[in-house]
Symmetry: C2
């Protein structure tokens, strides 16, 4: 995990807020500095360009996951219970980092790439490896089936949740969720239960 | 399904191409007219504003699904085989409508909403109902389990695929897919197999 000092963390938080609210192009370094209560020169000194600031933000939010995955691996739990914990971890991270996901999705859905994705990809690859170890442990114990594509399981967990959030207006109408609380409660209860049931059905299924 | 004449279809196709390439704001009615080989007045006559053109495009691409779902329902296949067909249908539609999904995702990831989502939501609700009938038939036959959230199954299928496509750069690196063909082949083979295995594990799982 990257270590940032308090001022740097303030800047990252302000950048995240303004990028999400105004888009990458819309947010100015001047406004980020005002929001973070620092001067413009300090942002340049710590991060360089606005592009580098976005990169630092995304890497800051992505790192930390590996350690949390390793913590789950080391807990004294059954393989199926570890999978429940994994899913809770993914969902809570995505919920906490909603602004960031908004930015990354925006970034991914436009053709011009603003940031250098290399560092981001490297961290995600390490996270996949930490994830794989947990599933492989369950396979070694004979609890999980082996004819599955482990790499695609995080894609499955995150894909379901992100797609649900991205189609919020449709979901609210279809499920008659009439407030922000009702929407969040549905994710916390029904959607999370569905993801856990789906992933465990895949892992534990016996033919 | 909405009926459009050939000229209208030309305009929709041109609009789809330019919206995807240049974004909604970037694409001008003038350029769409040039691409479609019609004059500007014809676009106004048929569709009104650029906003209405986007709406018509999205509705055009979303409708048609209901009939295809009903065709699967009426086929003489086992419930599990119908699910395979369903998944093939969703994947092929998303692949065919890639430009459209790019636009919708862009639209959904920006805070200002360009289009009126009501007509789009209505069509999607009808599609969900047609989908539900297929799963409920399998439940009535005792083949599929009943303690599942049917509504979330299309979200699961589409979410996995869309998330995979949205994270293309990461997937290409992680899976060493070094060409467009390799990426498409992975979706057609491994990813599709994973989605089918996952959904059938959920539906057929016995405790």
């Amino acid at each position: 995990m990257t270590d940032f000092n308090d001022k740097q963390l303030d800047i990252l938080q302000a950048a995240e807020k303004l990028f999400a609210e105004e888009g990458f192009d819309g947010a100015s370094i001047r406004n980020i500095a005002r929001e973070a209560n620092v001067n413009i020169a300090m942002i340049s000194y710590y991060f360089g360009s606005k592009e580098k600031l976005l990169e630092a933000l995304i890497i800051h939010r992505t790192s930390g996951m590996k350690m949390q995955l390793e913590n789950i691996f080391n807990e004294n739990l059954s393989p199926a219970d570890k999978v429940d914990r994994l899913i809770d971890l993914y969902i809570s991270r995505i919920n906490k980092n909603k602004c960031m996901y908004q930015i990354v999705h925006f970034e991914l859905s436009t053709k011009k790439r603003i940031m250098d994705m290399k560092a981001f990809i490297d961290i995600k690859l390490q996270n996949v490896e930490a994830f794989k170890r947990i599933i492989q442990e369950g396979q070694a114990q004979g609890v999980f089936r082996k004819d599955i594509n482990i790499f695609l399981i995080p894609t499955t967990i995150v894909g379901i949740l992100v797609h649900f959030q991205m189609n919020r207006m449709f979901m609210e109408t279809a499920l008659q969720l009439e407030s922000d609380d009702a929407f969040e409660a549905y994710i916390k209860n029904e959607l999370t239960a569905h993801i856990k049931q789906t992933i465990k059905a895949l892992l534990l299924h016996e033919n």
